[in-house]
């Protein structure tokens, strides 16, 4: 494969640079549309949860990876989105096309408030401040019984399209796919234009960024708002799919999973967020397969599956941090570079 030459800046800035890239993308889309029809309901449910995780992880990566603002409050934003959908659907019977964006907006508003400490704090201290905010938010939805039904939780009806509710996992997959693709493209465009450059500038050298005319206050808060909006949309789709919402869906363990997605996938990369979200969602299923195989010899493994799962997450985070800090995205780049220069090595 040769080098790509461009004859205009518009061409150089196109998302997919060559006919090859466009062809691969078309094949990938065809697979994404075709293969799920062949999968069983169990694998489909895993795939749907992976879709939710992709949106959530991209949102978190924009904040942590791109802007460099460490936040441990993301799951609280997801919860805000989930509860917004559940409450507004139950009380007012609003349709999904209103509720999904509305859930994003409510989460974004809360993200704006949670983001205020970022104007003063950095790194570890910001992580603690956002974590504290997350605990406050959790306390509210776990105890405001008249609104959220507390620990009992609420039931949520699946979204209806053309009068019919999307009851099957396959129908929900096709319903969710455009949201996932839209969220991915929007984030990709953000990171390669003015806003994304301002975010990376703040992450790499905030003093330089400021002396180049970037208003730190504005762009840090925008990062929190956009990130929380993604969380809210993910939360909305999450409860639509689960058909229920309760505080136990938004635990601190889920926050650790999201951090694991970023580290495994690649901090600061949109594609990496997708890799990480899919990897971490599929991992327990792969583990379950292994523990089931070993059940006869080591029954304790499947009995204590939950603990094994948490331990494996921890181990994977440590291994990636040690041996592949740029995550799966790093592997992707290695492979791409190899094929670009194959069969001749140059440059």
């Amino acid at each position: 494969m040769g080098r790509t030459f461009h004859s205009s800046y518009a061409e150089e800035m196109a998302l997919f640079q060559s006919d090859w890239a466009r062809a691969w993308m078309a094949i990938f889309l065809a697979l994404l549309l075709g293969v799920p029809a062949l999968l069983g309901p169990y694998l489909l449910s895993v795939l749907n949860l992976a879709g939710v995780a992709v949106i959530g992880a991209i949102g978190l990566n924009l904040l942590i990876g791109t802007t460099g603002q460490i936040s441990l409050g993301h799951v609280a934003f997801i919860a805000c989105g989930g509860y917004t959908t559940a409450i507004l659907a139950e009380r007012f019977g609003l349709p999904f096309w209103l509720l999904i964006p509305a859930s994003g907006c409510v989460a974004a508003l809360i993200g704006l408030v949670v983001g205020v400490p970022s104007l003063r704090l950095e790194g570890f201290y910001l992580a603690m401040a956002t974590l504290a905010a997350a605990f406050i938010i959790e306390y509210v939805y776990a105890h405001w019984e008249s609104l959220t039904a507390g620990t009992t939780g609420m039931k949520v009806a699946r979204p209806t399209l053309a009068g019919a509710p999307l009851e099957s996992s396959l129908a929900f997959f096709y319903f969710q796919l455009p949201w996932v693709i839209g969220a991915t493209l929007f984030a990709k465009n953000l990171t390669r234009t003015k806003v994304g450059r301002a975010w990376v500038a703040i992450r790499d050298r905030d003093i330089s960024a400021e002396t180049l005319g970037i208003d730190l206050t504005h762009y840090k808060l925008v990062a929190f708002i956009v990130s929380a909006f993604y969380g809210g949309v993910a939360g909305s789709l999450y409860v639509y799919y689960l058909k229920t919402v309760s505080p136990e869906h938004f635990t601190f363990a889920l926050m650790i999973e999201y951090i694991a997605m970023l580290i495994v996938g690649g901090v600061g990369s949109i594609l990496g967020s997708i890799f990480g979200a899919v990897f971490i969602t599929l991992l327990p299923e792969a583990l379950r397969l292994v523990t089931d195989l070993l059940r006869d010899d080591y029954p304790v493994l499947s009995f204590r599956f939950l603990y094994v799962k948490q331990g494996i997450y921890g181990l994977i985070i440590i291994l990636f941090l040690l041996f592949k800090p740029d995550g799966c995205f790093g592997w992707w780049q290695d492979v791409k570079r190899y094929w670009q220069t194959w069969p001749y090595k140059h440059s």
Binding site: L15, N189, A201
Partner: protein
């Protein structure tokens, strides 16, 4: 002097706790001039640049830029008013390409918000493409075509300095603050940068405030020189006048001993 004054500093006082960095420094920059600020280490040269950029806020003094009070402005507002700078230690965005570093410099000119950027349609897209072209003009000007897509962190020191100059130019400033642009460079690299600085002044008509230790460079290219020592202005004038000034010679070489 019938020239227009671009920047006017009067009686700037800056101290950190008990340490006095600037005590009563004042100077003026005329429109279009190349003004050098020199002095021994610790004289307060970089402090002057940081005060102009809005990074330090002086305890007393006045600072006006094109008729506007600069001391009320935050650093990003100073940049938006048309003042760009380079840093003594390179402060580039290491993980970005050269091109993206320059495009960050275009920030104040690109009119697009989150929606326009995320959708990348219509106006948002046209803006990005138009400013991509402007960035290319700077790449041409500084002769860095061969590295435009390279990651800045991988470039040699001399080229990084040049990219930092380019990033400041991308802001299209009225005033450019250069903090030791040739520090650590060899003769050839220094001559290159000197040529670029003169081009910036003459072709682009940008006023320059240059802080530099390389005396040969300062004497060769500057129109006027201000000399600081221990936070005070000890001399000002043309390079020739300053070089003959007794106070300047003493600041650099020490006071003459009484003959024994």
């Amino acid at each position: 002097m019938g020239e227009q004054t671009l920047l006017e500093a009067e009686d700037l006082h800056l101290h950190f706790g008990g340490v006095s960095a600037l005590s009563g420094v004042g100077f003026t920059l005329a429109q279009g001039e190349l003004h050098a600020m020199i002095g021994p280490n610790g004289a307060g040269k970089t402090s002057v640049l940081n005060v102009i950029s809005g990074i330090y806020r002086p305890q007393a003094g006045r600072l006006r830029f094109a008729g506007r009070n600069l001391l009320d402005l935050k650093p990003y507002q100073v940049a938006q008013a048309g003042i760009a700078r380079s840093f003594q230690n390179i402060e580039l965005f290491q993980h970005m390409s050269v091109l993206d570093n320059l495009l960050v410099g275009r920030h104040r000119w690109i009119k697009a918000g989150v929606l326009a950027c995320g959708l990348f349609l219509g106006r948002g897209r046209r803006q990005e493409i138009a400013h991509r072209r402007r960035a290319e003009e700077i790449i041409d000007f500084l002769e860095i075509e061969h590295i435009r897509h390279a990651r800045v962190g991988n470039l040699p020191y001399g080229l990084q300095k040049r990219v930092e100059l380019g990033r400041a130019l991308a802001l299209e400033p009225k005033l450019l603050l250069l903090d030791e642009p040739v520090a650590g460079m060899n003769v050839e690299e220094t001559e290159d940068i000197a040529r670029f600085i003169l081009d910036i002044k003459e072709e682009l008509g940008i006023t320059i405030l240059l802080v530099e230790h390389d005396m040969r460079l300062v004497m060769d290219i500057s129109d006027r020189v201000t000399v600081l020592d221990f936070g005070k202005k000890i001399a000002a004038g043309t390079p020739q006048e300053v070089a003959r000034n007794q106070a300047v010679i003493e600041a650099y070489l020490g006071e003459p001993h009484e003959a024994a």
